[in-house]
Amino acid sequence: MSTRSEGPLGLDDDALAACVACGLCLPHCPTYRVTGLEFASPRGRIAAMREVEAGSMPIDDSFERAMTECVQCRACEAACPSSVPFGHMMEDTRAALTEQEHGTSASRPRRALEWVGYRLVLPHHIVLLGATWLLLAAQKLHLVPKRLALPALSPRSLARRLDVERGGQPHAWLFTGCVMDAWLRDTHRSTARVMRATGATIARPGAGGDCCGALHVHAGRREEARTLARRIIASMPGDAPVVVNSAGCGAAMKEYGVLLDTPDARAFSARVRDFSEWVVERGVPATSRSATPIVVQDPCHLRHVQRSHLAVRTALGESFALVELDDDGLCCGAGGAYAATQPELATAIRDRKVDAIRNAVGQPDPVVASANPGCMLHLRAAGLDVRHPADLLAEVLDG
């Protein structure tokens, strides 16, 4: 039975002890890859956690920095032969840092901004949509600096409702989420087309089924995440599979069982499917063959957390010539809100990914498939043509 340590972070003792420091995680860590710093690596971060828990190191700015610089891609977890649960240790650590409000240098404006983001905008879909319209207006007036790398929003897409009913008793739920629905609603339209092409009836979640809380978990705002998770579970009753086309959301929802630790949550988690995973289970609908080669970029939370990244290949393989990357699924640096909170590191990490993509296909403007809104937006900001597998499939659907 695992026990919680009595240190200031309250981490799981056995998890802390389980790292044998072999270093096999290092090449898979995006921040280690671009900095070469031990404390920017999983092994170094665990060593720092151990020191803090043992009381031999204070929680200071450098510790907080080492923890907040982690993208939480969890590639180290997949690479770890001893399966050290690094993702959960990092979430526990961030939760402790957030809850205890250590007198570190996190500034008041930053905290205020976080409050607006996590408490006001993300959980209230209407506010998010309103903010998106404002953003769109600002974009039209050229008030949004390019370096923020925000997506080009389409008023046409935003003005039209998604043609999927809320609630009911569908064959499968289409989880629409918060940012996806505001910024990438066309991808939901593609997802709905493909799902219906398999003969399934679909519905969107009922009231409250918007924000899954993934970003909250990453930021250590676990109580808020729990509240959101309960809302999500209540919004999609029954036994029908919950289809998620955002890898980050899907990964978080598959971990509701751990987050809430209730039978209901575990049962819900077992129903969650990534879009491609569900399409492959259900049977890929008939498509025509396209000549476009597609570079497959695996979102970390699809590959390292859900570990269902192979389904994308099965779903797209019949219709497209797929090109694999030779980088062991190294993170692109998007990491949920990471691209916004750590722009320098996120850009350095992305540069590696962009090189890997261009080298793999041997041409400057390849089409890239990526099943996560964060990666899509982050890589698009580097000038790549990135599309969701659902968009790609919808284009080649027969009839």
Binding site: D14, A17, A18, C19, V20, A21, C22, G23, L24, C25, L26, P27, Y32, G36, L37, E38, R43, A79, C80, P81, S82, S83, V84, D326
Partner: protein
């Protein structure tokens, strides 16, 4: 601590350290298993992780110049499209750096057929401990003069730091086959190893894992390693297609004759990669059994493999410790691994004692202290188990020729008292200027040597009779 990003800045870091009278130690990925990069004596730590460029690849001459921080597997990846790879493949190859490989003269499963790091390093540009930069060895087949490159490879940072390395690139074999043989006893597996080598076959790799480690590894990779086997052998043969087929048949036959239950040949590259991923994750998977481990790295003559293995398990039983073996069976390079939990009181003493007994067993069987991990800090004080004072003195004088001030990675590899010459300093420090060196040296060598001998093994080494220093040096 500093993070240079080029050959020039590494050299500058060494010069700055020396100007301030500080020793220095290089650190790569920190995957070493003998503590070679552990800072002792408050040195400047020169981290090479940012020197990670492959500078030049010549596919015709099959040579690449790389910076020391390039990861071993990254190098092979970079040249894969040329049909080439870098042959030495330590288990940590995904994470370890070429610079670290050069420092320890690293081995790996495929070194059985292809040779260890020293055979794949043609030249090294090094910054010497005085801050000057020079190139040892060369790209020509037989570089003139003494083979100082050979000295440097495996010197564990005690002769300077490699700043650029010219490595030999190996063509990918036209055909590869990987076999997994499983046995109901370690004895049968060991007999298969001896049988294979005795038959004249030279597999590219010949690896053994025992029951516990096989199960831990299988929990991680799910490669289909048999959970009920007492031992498995992972054998790889490569070469031209016909020869490979023949070797597969030969190894299978020898295995079956020695009681192999199944012989599985990997069907494709993916299956082969998964099997190797299992083998190469073995050490990292130990925490599935216990959170700490003490790993040894001794080499014994292959003819003694079985006897030594039995004794190794017996030693662990006597100390009630969990013992696992995963090793390069083909070249007799044992990796007895003791898994334990440091939170358990008193366990470390047993682990250490058992470890020393194991090493003594290996050396008594005609083996050596280290196969590929190096000596570093961990085995430094065990050096007198294997080397006579003459041997140690010769090594110390070679080291001094590179680093007369002892600034490069101090306190590593050679135990204190290795040099008879150290006496001059010791004597000066105790204010004794009159004592004739010859008698004093003898006394010092004897007492220091005995002291180390006792520390290490509890008794002086008897094979050489005494600790007498034959050639005291003024």
């Amino acid at each position: 601590m500093c993070f240079p990003d080029s050959a020039e800045t590494i050299a500058a870091a060494v010069r700055v350290a020396r100007r301030h009278g500080r020793p220095f130690v290089a650190r790569g990925s920190g995957t070493g298993l003998a503590g070679g990069a552990v800072p002792v004596d408050d040195p400047v730590v020169i981290v090479t992780t940012r020197c990670n460029r492959v500078l030049d690849v010549d596919p015709v001459q099959r040579v690449a110049w790389v910076e020391p921080g390039v990861l071993n597997l990254d190098l092979s990846r970079t040249i894969r499209h040329l049909g080439l790879h870098y042959a030495p493949d330590p288990s940590s190859q995904a994470a370890c750096s070429i610079g670290g490989n050069v420092a320890t003269n690293a081995g790996g499963p495929h070194c059985l057929a292809y040779g260890v790091t020293a055979m794949h390093v043609l030249a090294v540009e090094v910054v010497l401990p005085d801050g000057s930069v020079t190139t040892l060895g060369g790209l020509e087949p037989d570089a003139p003069g003494y083979d100082l490159r050979g000295c440097f490879v495996g010197s564990e940072g005690t002769m300077g730091i490699a700043t650029r390395i010219a490595v030999r690139l190996t063509p990918n074999p036209p055909e590869v086959a990987t076999l997994l043989l499983d046995f109901t006893s370690v004895d049968d597996a060991a007999a298969t190893v001896s049988g294979t080598i005795a038959s004249g076959a030279l597999p590219a790799a010949l690896e053994m894992m025992d029951a516990k480690i096989t199960r831990a590894v299988e929990d991680f990779v799910g490669a289909g390693y048999p959970r009920d086997a007492e031992a498995v052998l992972l054998v790889e043969v490569d070469g031209l297609a016909d020869g490979v087929a023949e070797q597969v048949a030969a190894v299978s036959e020898i295995g079956k004759a020695n009681g192999a239950r199944h012989v599985r040949v990997a069907a494709d590259d993916a299956e082969r990669a998964l099997l190797w991923k299992g083998r190469k994750s073995a050490f990292g998977a130990i925490a599935r059994i216990a959170p700490d481990y003490y790993l040894h790295d001794a080499v014994v003559p292959r003819s003694k493999l079985l006897d030594v293995l039995r004794r190794v398990y017996a030693i662990a039983d006597e100390h009630a410790l969990t013992m696992m073996n995963v090793f390069h069976a083909g070249d007799g390079n044992l990796h007895p691994l003791i898994a334990y939990d440091r939170r358990q009181p008193g366990v470390w003493e047993h682990v250490y004692e058992a470890g020393t007994e194991i090493l003594r067993t290996c050396i008594d069987a005609g083996g050596v202290l280290s196969g590929e991990h190096g000596v570093g800090l961990e085995k430094r004080d065990l050096m007198p188990l294997l080397f006579s004072p003459d041997d140690l003195d010769a090594q110390a004088r070679l080291r001094d020729a590179f680093d007369p001030d002892g600034a490069a990675n101090p306190e590593k590899v050679l135990p204190r008292g290795s040099r008879c010459g150290e006496l001059t300093a010791e004597r000066a420090s105790i204010g004794d200027k009159s004592c004739p060196l010859s008698t004093h040296a003898l006394w010092w060598c004897r007492s220091v040597g005995e002291h180390i001998g006792k520390l290490a093994v509890g008794r002086p080494r008897s094979a050489t009779g005494s600790w007498k220093c034959a050639r005291p040096r003024a």
